[in-house]
Symmetry: C2
Subunit: 117 residues, 2 copies
């Protein structure tokens, strides 16, 4: 499927409308359903960027199917507005207050990317 192609090509997280514009012609609903199904199948993961835009990225090989526990950092460049999956930047442990149990974590860093700096 072309969606997976596009997502695999770049290791960026793309919004639905960005994906949409790589197609000559596609219905937004079809795209929505494809992305939903890919996410449920553990093939892509979904992240919300600093502007609230939902973005999708291909999952790495070692991503457990449904749970999406591949805990890597996401980076949002404030120049080019691209979102990077920093697959190799791991998330340090966080000490939660007593009584709070942890089952997942999202880390979104803002700044300037290597190309824009």
């Amino acid at each position: 499927m072309k969606v997976l192609d596009e997502l695999s090509k770049t290791h960026l997280a793309l919004s639905q409308s960005e994906l949409e514009s790589t197609f000559r012609k596609v219905d937004r609903i079809t795209l929505y359903r494809a992305l939903r199904d890919f996410e449920e199948a553990g093939i892509v993961h979904k992240i919300v960027d600093m502007n609230g835009t939902t973005r999708f990225a291909i999952c790495s090989d070692d991503c457990p199917d449904a749970t999406h526990n591949e805990e890597h950092v996401h980076f949002n460049c404030q120049r080019c507005h691209k979102m990077f999956c920093l697959q190799h930047t791991h998330i340090p442990d966080i000490q939660l207050p007593p009584g709070f149990t942890h089952s997942g974590i999202n880390v979104l860093v803002q700044g300037v990317c290597n190309k824009c700096s």
Copy 2:
């Protein structure tokens, strides 16, 4: 203003519709503009929860006005769906790949809160 009252009472991050329902009568636009202005003034900060819902929370005293650099952890309980500002849970430094510079960070932890566990 009642909005600030509500946000100060709880130290949770509330969605606009949650805030709306604490009012007897208020226009959603008025609320939207109030929240926008409070955020620009550095009185409240905005966070997107794990479902993509935007939420607002009162800023701590030491929050720098416009920039919102009070870097604390946010916690989303998957039972009660409340979002907590863990004001005292600090965010560890993260090593970014070369060329990436950091100017802000959001950490959102999912799990079960102290009341629900």
